[in-house]
Symmetry: C2
């Protein structure tokens, strides 16, 4: 086995865990934390609740919510200025992948200077970041666990993948209560994102026994609880999806991802699509592309998805992919790339950008831009 | 589900990973690390190898090896003085549970003052510790992963259990090569300790989905690789046992242990017995005592150990315990408490001390000192 690493934040998990946010921030030295969230969470009352918790611990705070879905380089730059102006000392993010990734970007620029573009790629952050306490509001992005941040470069219209051990937050506080105010469609899209994290990390060329265990657990739990969530996302189901998303986060943070996420980032950068919406279109086609390069593992995934082994590994793997397609269809998720991309003429540029994404490096089957194009054409 | 936590160090795992010790120490701010190890590892050449790695990174170092099996309060006190005298800044431990626990004790006293007795029990360490990089030389203690340190109080002749989040090392570097020079009996005893960690943490009253996953993985891997190690502990088997021990460490650090470890600490304190030797005697009796309080989980353990489900949970659980007894016998491990304790007259005192151990708080069936006595009499 190659030398491998496994790094995750300290995790505090459970209903009501948000109440520890102030104590955790203080433990990391906070006197004036900067809270990063978005207007949606503000409206649901979670931001006020969090700010009360912080005030209850005697903390001054400053609040920043200039964050949109697919957070932008310009917002990161504003946030870093805001952090400096308010002399903040710890960053607390409350939200889905967008506020959390924005908060990571802000942490990088606030402490390392320059613009977020300077840190695109792997291991380019050299100075320590402010301590980070993250509270996810979806069970999907895994940003509260992972060493990834995805920020849109508005000029180039692409999503930059930034990977660094220092992007792992210090503490992740996962409170399933916070998920109860999310619209059902967002709950499902987030869970599909987590499922893609689990599947891609499992077949990654740098998967380890530590990450494989988490990937398989996540696939198993999501395959059980995602259809239930489509019926009625009870607190119990949201809790299970949160456990699964956390496990998937531990896996992909340390084993990275593959062609599905490389394409998803490219798509999201060009067309500002909800990230969780693209996997139902792309993941099955990517799994077919990867099949021969990772057959025993693809069969293992298939076995979990269909509940049994068929006669051959190939049959089990194929049946798993079909089961996934049925699941996505039954959830009302998008099935064809043409539902997301206005014209097929965009595909070559989209694939050339995806071929530059750091996630592609760990795909089990090497893929060039024209391989990605074939995947997109299959999914069209 | 109750609010739960899951905290582990950054892990670097693999053959040859020791070479990263200097880089890791520097990342934590080291200029003059203190290395804690023992004469056995010095003799095998591992200490020199580590010191060369540190020198190669331009680090000055100081070296402390006044550590015995079941490390003592007096050694911790000497080590803390040594740390201060040498103006060390990071603690690097290389060894089995004894050097690693001694290093934790030294870190506590060097930074928090007083004597190690002041920190006995849970959450009594209030000031930050020096950064810690640990390199385990056995696949068993899990001290490189856990928030536990066990130090012998030489005056009271008992092992103190010290539990604190701050005792989780910053970085654990697990290099299976380092295990190749251990005598076979110590390899087996360490693996049995890891198995006890996995089983006790799985049935702990504060087990969580995060710890249960790791416990089950560890039980499965140890049940496969422990008998193989008894034949010939190849590097591949040692690597698998290291993965299992790491998983068990993640589990017990966060879910704690139970009556077996409470008694093991008491026994080790009174009679200076090798810690890994006591579980083959105590664990089956403790599992029988716990059976009704955790029947579905005991059946799950049984299913892994015997490879199938029997007609009832109880039958599966019982067959699992018997399989464990056969395994221990086949390994030549001790079977009876009388092989470890000179006279039965010691048992009441031994059990009264064990009843005070922090590990007993999470045993699935509440146990008073006389319950422990009954367990010891069964195991006599």
């Amino acid at each position: 086995m190659e030398i491998t690493k496994f790094s995750i934040p300290e995790i505090i998990f459970g209903r009501g865990a948000l109440k520890y946010a102030g104590l955790c921030a203080k433990r990391l030295g906070a006197e004036k934390p900067m809270v990063v969230s978005d207007p949606g969470l503000h409206e649901c009352g979670w931001v006020s609740h969090l700010l009360e918790v912080l005030a209850g611990e005697g903390l001054e705070w400053c609040y920043f919510e200039d964050v949109v879905s697919n957070p932008r380089d310009t917002q990161v730059a504003h946030g870093a200025l805001f952090y400096a102006e308010h002399k903040a000392d710890v960053i607390i993010a409350l939200g889905g992948g967008s506020p959390m990734d924005a908060a990571k970007g802000i942490a990088v620029v606030a402490s390392n200077g320059g613009s977020i573009q300077d840190y695109e790629g792997a291991n380019r952050i050299h100075r320590p970041l402010p301590p980070m306490v993250f509270l996810p509001s979806t069970a999907g992005s895994g940003s509260d666990i992972s060493q990834f941040a995805i920020i849109t470069d508005t000029r180039r219209r692409l999503k930059m993948t930034i990977v660094s051990r220092t992007l792992v937050p210090n503490i992740s506080i996962i409170d399933p209560n916070v998920l109860t105010t999310k619209p059902r469609y967002l709950v499902l899209a987030a869970a599909v994102d987590a499922l893609a994290h689990a599947i891609e990390s499992y077949v990654s060329i740098i998967a380890s026994p530590f990450t494989e265990l988490q990937s398989l657990k996540a696939i198993e739990m999501i395959s059980i609880h995602l259809p239930r969530a489509a019926q009625e996302p009870t607190l119990e189901i949201l809790e299970s999806l949160s456990i699964a998303s956390t496990a998937a986060g531990m896996a992909f943070s340390n084993a990275s991802l593959g062609a599905d996420h490389a394409l998803a980032h490219s798509l999201g950068g060009m067309f500002d699509i909800l990230h969780g919406e693209v996997h139902s279109v792309l993941l099955p086609a990517v799994m077919r592309f990867n099949m021969d390069a990772a057959l025993p593992k693809m069969a293992q995934i298939g076995k979990i998805l269909i509940g049994k082994n068929l006669r051959s590994e190939r049959q089990t793997a194929q049946a798993g992919i079909e089961a996934l397609e049925h699941l996505f269809a039954s959830l009302g998720m998008k099935q064809c790339l043409r539902d997301l991309v206005p014209e097929p003429s965009h595909l070559p540029q989209l694939c050339r950008m995806a071929a530059q994404d750091a996630c592609l490096l760990t795909n089990p089957r090497p893929a060039k831009w024209d391989d990605l194009l074939a995947i997109c054409e299959e999914a069209w």
